[in-house]
């Protein structure tokens, strides 16, 4: 868990990284509880996610998304979020891309606030 957290937060704000290291980040704490809770049905949920996202056809195209979309990614995300963001945005009409320079995969509380504010009409 610690190694996973480290990989996902490399490049985050120093303050946020310190909270994570001390185990005081509320998102990470809730996430730990969530991981334990997720295993209640054994691997059923993980298999379901894998089938839905990687194996079964999506059943829609990105161009079918006809509402406001914000594609957010942290610059230091170790996955494909940053290179994929502009590709996704070109296929979704009216999509907006925000790359946070001071974040990795996991948003900090300030980033969460920013995203939730964007959703308020």
């Amino acid at each position: 868990m610690t190694r996973a957290a480290t990989a996902y937060t490399a490049g985050s704000l120093d303050h946020h990284r310190q909270l994570l290291a001390e185990g005081k980040d509320p998102w990470m704490r809730a996430n730990e509880q969530s991981i334990v809770e997720s295993s209640r049905n054994g691997p059923a949920g993980l298999i379901g996610d894998w089938l839905a996202t990687d194996i079964h056809r999506a059943g829609f195209r990105l161009r079918d998304v006809r509402c406001r979309v914000l594609v957010w990614a942290g610059r230091s995300d170790p996955g494909r979020a940053v290179p994929d963001a502009p590709l996704v945005a070109t296929r979704i009409p009216g999509a907006e891309v925000r790359i946070a320079e001071d974040a990795a995969h996991t948003p900090s509380p300030a980033h969460w606030r920013e995203m939730l504010a964007w959703l308020s009409p």
Partner: protein, 191 residues
């Protein structure tokens, strides 16, 4: 369509899920106090149109802007953005099928989860809402945008790995390695 029972939000009353394994697991974990356990864990139930159980929870300001949060893998109702970010937001989270107290879906799809989100919001009387998907939950959030865009104030896809088939970014074994195995290895602590 949601049932009258679920629409009345009598959810904190104990009601076993239809799935046998969920019943057994819940009985083991909850012991003789399912009522208390479920209160402590913010558990509420919703019966999907096909009879499956969807467990959900609510955080933040009950009078705030409704936002459905879809967490990354593994996604349960307990994971949510920090409370300090929830000012003016009524955040609704849920166990995706197969996680926590939600019944597994025999054929899980992105649009199937989107339908569950739509049904849950309808049962709560929410007509317009936002969807925030993070990491492994982002594809489900985007699916909501394709399924019922007119009901949404917007969709945020955070840490979103795009659909590689459509984007043409990954192929074959590279796709499997990068999207599935790596993700689960990271969560398992880099085994």
């Amino acid at each position: 369509m949601p049932t009258e029972r679920s629409a009345s939000r009598d959810a904190l009353r104990w009601r076993p899920a239809n799935d046998r394994w969920t019943q057994v697991a819940t009985r083991i974990v909850c012991g003789g106090r399912p009522h208390w356990y479920r209160r402590l864990c913010h558990v509420t139930d919703f019966a999907l149109p096909d009879g499956r159980n969807l467990a959900w929870a609510e955080y933040g300001d009950p009078a705030g802007t409704p936002v459905v949060y879809i967490d990354g893998t593994p996604g349960t109702r307990l994971a949510h953005p920090p409370d300090e970010a929830l000012a003016g937001v009524r955040l609704i989270t849920f166990d995706r099928p197969g996680y926590g107290l939600s019944t597994p879906d025999p054929r899980p799809t992105l649009l199937g989860v989107a339908d569950a989100v739509g049904a849950l919001a309808s049962s709560l009387g929410i007509t317009r809402f936002g969807v925030l998907g993070f990491s492994g939950g982002a594809p489900y959030a985007v699916a909501c945008g394709a399924r019922f865009p007119e009901r949404l104030t917007g969709v945020v896809a955070a840490g979103f790995t795009g659909p590689d088939r459509e984007l043409g970014t990954l192929h074959g074994r590279e796709r499997l390695r990068s999207r599935s195995c790596a993700r689960y290895r990271l969560w398992a602590g880099g085994m």
